[in-house]
């Protein structure tokens, strides 16, 4: 669909005609009428962009298009933003980029605007920079104090440190203060409470000590705390922002619109505005936007995303279709029976929401550590305070000093970095392999997995047919079939043409080619009528496998049989997961014959055929009840409930929206291979997280007794803090 999405265009009021080429003119006119001669801002996703040559090729090609003012490719996000005159359409630019060899998808800039200006991330980065600046300067002065500066010099250095550190703590510490305040108001003791307490105590005590020419000031510790904790916070934020923006990108790929017939004119409307009783036109290749009944036209529909059936189903007047099915051959007019919230697509989405809720109850390793940590730190610090008050007979200054030292030493620099550093490192590695993590705890859940459930159609297979018996037919039949198939855009025909071209078959000369929607293609070859299509239309018996039939008038119809094409990497994934000792099941909605032969091809012993969506979810629930941790990999609407119900789930980028929303990870490329890596990396990541928590724990075990007995100096605190933080970061980088 070639509708140029514009931020400024009053989209709802623009009437759009059916042919893609006519779209631009009325849209531009509407803009001109509105008197809004503003620039169009177009956004594209370019998944293949990866190098300097890509940048200059794409930018130059796009800038040559008349009307384009500027084009800039963001390589990190793999997005191109174009500022252009209102007349420039997205379809035109997609064509230009296709011409220089880059696949581009239009994005909805309205949806993306939030992540594009990542305010929160920039804010955190700013505070991080300030903390870093202060840390370096204060450290410089502190080194002088530690190496023996005395009396007036020491006081001067402390005062300068205070002048730098106090504003920094106020500015950079805000994220912690805010969240600590929020958790206190809610009556909880979050991890940010001891952090804030440590920051405030360290600053005020140091100020007090400085004013009284004390020996120890913890300004360096306070800013260092800020820096390391902000670093952890920033990494955490970035991981989530990348996942969120990618998830939005996927959502923006599919523009939810439908062509509605109103008083004989075609109007493009948002799906939410369609009411039952409206008449909707669905072109060949389009997806049904609503549930409905066919009132005009004949075609075949692909139901694989909803049911897992790999064979297209004939549809004519009176056939009931559901939202999400793909119309293959002929235009259809539907009378809407249910739209928007009531459609089967949405009911499925509601199911997902319920299951999502159950999933958020999973507690991550970081949460568990934090829960253990907060009370422990407070108890330690307060008991130190009480003990020294009693021991020194009420020396408040000394007791507060010690309890502050305990808080500072135990402060979770390493704890705050332990998990985010590993998650950043692991998700970066998976992203380069083409796997996107949408959910924060997905990695940890992935590590628990012991059973993998695969869907067949569209997941382990491409959902695209592959011709299997071209060589069995005489050369002449091949040539005629290739010529007939070239006249259709049916998936079987496309695959036949591709196979014929690969085998070097020259199409025969066939005249009067004509596609009969829902049946096939017919033409005239050497004076006789020839047909390629459904078995009954050809006058033959239909076989049990996916096939198209050729009749040339002489002899029985010839069957061209197809098998679903294996997804690249599918065999490797099965082998890889088996090698890791996981139990693998194939659960498909397809017929038993197709599933059995497919399972045999991949060497899978356990398979279930003809499973309804509810049965898939039930199977996953049953496995879970038996104590298994299930990884569900699926793409269709029929998998959605199972995806949401599984311990962790993955779907390919070609999956339906609902399925992608329900899953924790999205496979960006065609290759299935990264799934096996994901399980391995997930396990490794969790091992690293545990190691990191142990490391930061060990530092505390060594340092806390020193602090409790009053032996901790600011130097010891600085050493413990920086060493433990650096150790956990390096450990996270060991991830392969």
């Amino acid at each position: 669909m070639a509708i140029a999405e514009r931020i400024d265009a009053p989209v709802e009021s623009v009437q759009v005609s059916a042919c893609p080429a006519c779209v631009a003119a009325p849209a531009a006119e509407a803009l001109a009428r509105a008197g809004a001669e503003k620039d169009a801002r177009l956004m594209f996703s370019l998944p293949a962009a990866h190098c300097a040559a890509c940048i200059s090729t794409v930018e130059q090609a796009v800038q040559k298009v008349p009307g384009v003012r500027s084009a800039r490719l963001n390589l990190t996000q793999k997005r191109l933003s174009v500022d252009a005159d209102p007349g420039v359409t997205a379809a035109e630019l997609i064509g230009v980029m296709g011409g220089v060899g880059y696949e581009a998808h239009e994005l909805d800039p309205g949806l993306l605007s939030v992540t594009e200006t990542d305010r929160q991330g920039r804010d955190l980065l700013m505070r991080l920079g300030v903390a870093f600046f202060s840390m370096m300067n204060v450290m410089l002065l502190s080194v002088a104090v530690w190496s023996g500066a005395e009396s007036a010099t020491r006081d001067l250095f402390h005062w300068i440190s205070a002048a730098i550190a106090l504003p920094t703590v106020v500015f950079s510490g805000q994220p912690f203060f805010k969240s600590a305040w929020a958790s206190l108001k809610a009556g909880r003791l979050g991890m940010d409470v001891p952090i804030s307490l440590a920051l405030i105590l360290a600053s005020s005590i140091s100020l007090f000590e400085t004013a009284h020419s004390g020996h120890h000031a913890y300004f360096d510790a306070a800013v260092m705390l800020c820096f390391f904790l902000l670093l952890g916070r920033y990494l955490d934020h970035r991981t989530r922002a990348v996942a969120r923006s990618a998830a939005e990108e996927l959502a923006a790929l599919e523009v939810p619109r439908a062509t509605v017939l109103k008083d004989g004119a075609e109007v493009v409307m948002s799906i939410s505005e369609i009411a039952p009783g409206d008449v909707v036109r669905v072109r060949p290749g389009g997806r049904m936007p609503v549930d409905g009944v066919v009132i005009e036209g004949a075609s075949e529909v692909d139901r694989s995303l909803l049911t897992g059936e790999s064979l297209p189903v004939w549809a004519g007047e009176g056939t009931v279709v559901s939202a999400g099915e793909v119309n293959l051959t002929g235009p259809l007019l539907l009378r809407v029976t249910a739209a928007g919230r009531d459609s089967s697509l949405h009911r499925m989405a509601d199911l997902v929401a319920v299951a999502e809720h159950a999933r958020t109850r999973y507690t991550s390793i970081a949460d568990k550590a934090a829960r253990l940590y907060s009370p422990l730190v407070h108890i330690l610090s307060f008991s130190a305070f009480g003990f020294w008050m009693w021991k020194t007979g009420g020396d408040l200054r000394y007791a507060v000093n010690i309890s502050a030292a305990v808080l500072i030493i135990t402060c979770p620099c390493a704890l705050g970095l332990a998990v985010p550093a590993v998650v950043t490192s692991a998700s970066g590695r998976l992203f380069r392999k083409g796997l996107l993590i949408k959910h924060g705890t997905a990695l940890e859940r992935l590590a628990d997995v012991d059973t993998v459930v695969f869907d067949k159609t569209g997941t382990l297979t491409m959902g695209a047919p592959e011709l299997t018996n071209l060589g069995e037919h005489p050369r002449q039949a091949q040539e005629v079939a290739a010529a007939l198939a070239a006249a259709s855009s049916h998936p079987l025909a496309l695959s036949l043409v591709e196979a014929a071209r690969a085998a070097g078959v020259q199409p025969a000369v066939v005249e009067d080619l004509r596609e009969v929607p829902g049946y096939g293609v017919e033409g005239r070859w050497r004076g006789t009528r020839v047909r390629l299509g459904r078995a009954d239309w050809c006058g033959g018996e239909s076989l049990a496998v996916t096939a198209t039939y050729l009749c040339t008038g002489e002899g029985a119809p010839r069957a061209f049989t197809f098998a679903d094409r294996l997804r690249p990497g599918a065999a490797e994934v099965v082998a890889g997961l088996k090698a890791q000792g996981l139990r693998i099941l194939l659960v498909s909605g397809d017929s038993a014959g197709a599933v059995a032969s497919f399972a045999g091809r991949l060497g899978l012993d356990e398979w279930i055929a003809g499973a309804l969506p509810a049965e898939k979810a039930a199977k996953v629930a049953e496995l879970t009840a038996e104590g298994a941790r299930v990884l569900m990999v699926g793409d269709g609407l029929n998998d959605t409930a199972a995806l949401a119900g599984a311990h962790v789930s993955i779907s390919p980028a070609t999956a339906l929206d609902a399925a992608r929303v329900a899953s924790d990870m999205v496979l960006l490329g065609q290759d299935m291979g990264p799934v096996a890596d994901a399980v391995r990396i997930g396990r490794q990541a969790v091992r690293r997280m545990r190691e990191n928590l142990v490391i930061s724990g060990v530092y505390n075990v060594v340092a806390v007794p020193l602090a409790l007995v009053g032996m901790a100096t600011p130097l010891a605190a600085a050493l413990a803090m920086s060493l433990s933080s650096i150790t956990v970061s390096l450990n996270a980088l060991r991830l392969k």
């Binding site: 200059s56 963001n74 390589l75 990190t76 996000q77 980065l125 700013m126 600046f133 300067n137 730098i164």
Partner: protein, 52 residues
Amino acid sequence: MNILTFLIPVSLFLAGIGLVAFFWAIRHKQFDDPQGSAERILMKDWDDHPKP
């Protein structure tokens, strides 16, 4: 030691310049596309004359 009264303000001032530069860079979206910036220096497009 009197040199310190001179050196400390100087070092703070220099670091302050760095901080201001950092603020400028963030405000002007210099960190939005680190990967692209790394690749862009390898492009030969405007080697002969500056971008008009």
